[in-house]
Symmetry: C2
Subunit: 344 residues, 2 copies
Amino acid sequence: MVWLDASGPSSETVMSTRIRLARNISSIPFIARAREDQLNVVMRTVTSSASGAKGLERSKFLRMADLSVLDRAFLVERHLISPDFSNESPNRGILVGEDETESVVINEEDHLRIQVICSGEQITEAWERANALDDHLEETLEYCFSPDLGYLTSCPTNVGTGLRASVLVHLPALVLTKQIRKVIRGVAQVGLAVRGFYGEGSEVVGNFFQISNQITLGQSENETLEGLERVVRQVLGHEEKARELLLNDARVQVEDKVWRAYGTLSNCRVVTSQEIVNLTSAVRLGVAMGFPGLPSLKTINELLVLTQPAHLQVSAGREMDSTERNVLRAGEVRKRLGLSPVED
Amino acid sequence: MVWLDASGPSSETVMSTRIRLARNISSIPFIARAREDQLNVVMRTVTSSASGAKGLERSKFLRMADLSVLDRAFLVERHLISPDFSNESPNRGILVGEDETESVVINEEDHLRIQVICSGEQITEAWERANALDDHLEETLEYCFSPDLGYLTSCPTNVGTGLRASVLVHLPALVLTKQIRKVIRGVAQVGLAVRGFYGEGSEVVGNFFQISNQITLGQSENETLEGLERVVRQVLGHEEKARELLLNDARVQVEDKVWRAYGTLSNCRVVTSQEIVNLTSAVRLGVAMGFPGLPSLKTINELLVLTQPAHLQVSAGREMDSTERNVLRAGEVRKRLGLSPVED
């Protein structure tokens, strides 16, 4: 997962950028009305069209029907499929590039959804990659396209560009200084969506937020992307100012918060996924603020994603209940922090 | 302070043993009715009588009137004087032996109070030292003594032996397994007092408890000491069983609690005295349970006592408000844990 490696621009605040294009094939009914043999045609033609594409040279095709509940949860945790992607049909699946930057989800809500995830703030780069993959597929596939409306999709909210561009940002200073709701309101007012991420439910809990476009109709891809980029820049500016405020007014309190979180991460013996989100969030703030002696952003990103329930179980090669996972997770954290386990 | 060094028996559970003997000089009225010139006689005769005694060879005499509020708070934190020992009179003070095992408080509630503090469970040793010092003083002083009642004291609760023997025990497993109230009730039923120590107020908060005799009249010193020793042994036995229970039933949860406390202690940048009590209590439990890799009991005892407010300020050579102390304390903790400060 290249998107985890914190190599992209603004990685200290932007975890990842994601582009998704919803497409359907003109000769075949939409998912809700398609027969299994038609879905099978979609699956075969899309996989064969995509196989030579850039980023998918050494791809894997994963059929949902072949995957266990755990395997699917694993893909959800890697942001490759949505939790709703069921395996009722034998003709559903995902084609994933070797480094997981490019992928194509087949026969979920639409016939195909092109996905690109990049590290940091890389709206342009992610878009160019998705667009190139889209062009490649269009050489052999004929999309459902209306000259008036644009690309037609199962859900009317995607009609037009079929584009969903989203940026996963970490805004701890705006949360700490209690400015986050104001910022979220501002973002919503210009037509973008902000939702809590890695939090409990959809409440504004935790410090990770996903900012994405809502409009797909009546504006070009470039307008959408430029609008998102502009707003993300503004939000990053607000976060930056809030961090300066904290450094000036409450440096030692922030240091305390950051180092306590690190102390807990590096010493706990039982820990939940939710607590990992909160602890890594605090440590991430410390790294962003330039406090020396903390783990790298790459390690922090990996802690957040790779210690999730399905990842732990896939890595252990068996299912485990949450009690067992919470113990294993604590050991995994110490390993990833490069601390030799003290006593196991 | 030898009593802090965790060298005594059962030091993993018993922090210290303390003996106090209340005495008054027969030719001089009790404190409440004595004139200053009489108090002055007490001060001079007691200090001169005590100066050659074992444990007081290289003693210091500290006059309360010469001490600042901070200096007195420092002595309270070291368990040498009580918080109520005011400096109204110029003839009050404390004679302290070099290693602070022996001391004599002069003109507080009684003319003199012989004090001995030892590390761990050393009721007999502490008693023998106090008794030897008492014998030494009695060679030159004539005590207020009634053949019927025994030693006479300002407060009737001390009449008889004038002896208060107390043992400071750490009972985290009894607290965690919710058996502590039952144990305290049992101790109270046999006529001993138990009070929370290093907690907030006199509530049963925190895991440190002081067990002491209440009766001084109608029983000999040996009966008092044997009674206390028997009950302390029983309480330690209960604590031991509770620890075994925890190890068998909840080992990883206890490890988690212990290591999180250590992680916070070793990483925090702001910390209160009260939190130090709770954190060191958890770490102490880990040491007692034999978890490897934790600090020594001596270090843990020192963290508890030497990071108290007055100690921090005396060590820094100036008064500080609590905000400043909480920052300094966190740095002091890291130094004592042998961790080089990461960034200051």
